[in-house]
Amino acid sequence: MAVEVRIPTILRTHTDGAKAVEGSGTTISEVIDDLETRHSGLKERLVESGDLRRFVNVYVNDEDVRFLAGVQTPVKDGDTIVVLPAVAGG
C-alpha cells in the first residue's frame, strides 16, 4: 500500500528537506512505523505513548484522523496523508 505523506517544514529535518515522502502500511500507525525505518526520529515527533501528540494533526484525504480511528485509521493505496502542526485560526 503506497501512500504519499506530506511533511510540514518543521519536521523536514527528518526527511532531508523533502516536502513529501512515500510510505506504506494499512493504517496510519503502520505508515509511521514504515517512515521511521528511513526517516529516523520522525515517529517520536508525531506520536507519544501510542497517540498523536497534542499539537500534531494528521489528515487522510483531508479528514482529521482523530475523528476517524486515530492512528488505527485505515489507509489504502493512493491515499494522501497530510501532517500539520496545530496553529491558531480565527
Partner: protein
Amino acid sequence: MRYESLLDSVGETPLVGLPRLSPSADVRLWAKLEDRNPTGSVKDRAVLWMLIDAEKVGRLRPGCTILEPTSGNTGISLAMVAKLRGYRLVCVMPENTSSERRQLLQMWGAEIVDSPAAGGSNEAVRVAKGIAAEHSDWVMLYQYGNPANAAAHYEGTGPELLADLPSITHFVAGLGTTGTLMGVGRFFREHKPDVRIVAAEPRYGELVYGLRNLEEGFVPELYDETLIDSRFSVGPRDAVRRTRELLEEEGIFAGISTGAILHAALAQAAKSVEAGESADIALVVCDGGWKYLSTGAYEGTVDEAEDRLEGQLWA
C-alpha cells in the same frame, strides 16, 4: 423588522436553501447567512456577547482600552461596538491579511499592531499576550478562550437553526476560534444529539505553519473535541472553487472561508447520498466576499487565484 439600535439587530439571520448545490431531493443544503449581521460577519455574535459579559462583570468600564488578536472580522466587529460604547481598541493582526480588513478597522477607529506574517494568527496571539502583560489595565476579551464566544452560538445560532430547520441532521462551520462549533455543538448535543457536527479547517500555505518548534503549536482553550464528529482540512484551491460555485449556482457572494465550509458540507452530502440516507445539512456563510476582492480570489482561473492566495490568511 424594527430594532432600537444597530447592536440590537445582531443575529436572527436568514436560513436559505441551496437547491442547485443540493445533490438530491433527500439530501439538502441550507446556508445560514451570517453576512447579514451589522458589520457583515458571524463575529458580531461573539463580540456582542463577550462585550456585554465583560461589562456585566465589571471588567470593562467606560474609557477602557480593549486589546485583541484578530485576523480581521472579530476586530472589525469590536471596532464598531467599541466606537458606539466609547472604548479604545487595539488589534494585533498578522501582516498578511487583506488591505480591506485594515481599512475597515481604521475606519471605525481601531489602532493596529502588526504581527509577523510567518506564524499567522499564532504570532498575533503571542504578540497580544505580550502586550497584555505590559498593560495590565487593558482588557483582552480573548476570543480563543472566552466562554461568552461559544455562548453566543449556544444561545443564538443553535436555537435559531433548530427553529428554522427542525429536521436538521448536520451542522457545518469553520474552525478558527472554535466558538461557533463549540456553542452550536453543545446546543445540539443537549437538544438534538443525533445532529452531526462537522468542522472545516482552512489549510494555509507553508508560511503560516512556520513554527520554530512543535511545542509552539496552538489549540484554542475553548476547543472540546467531543463536541465535533468530523473535521476536514480544506486548502485554498477547493475553497476558491466552492466560493465561485456558490456565486454561480446560488447567487451568494461569500468570503473564501465560506467556500471551505461549503466544500466540507458537500463532502458530507456525498457521504449521505452514498449511504442512502436523507439529510438536512446547515452550513454557515461567515461573511460576504467584499473584504477579499483585493486577494484576487474572484478573478481569472482557479489556478491563478490559488497562486495569489499563497502565504495569505484567506479565512
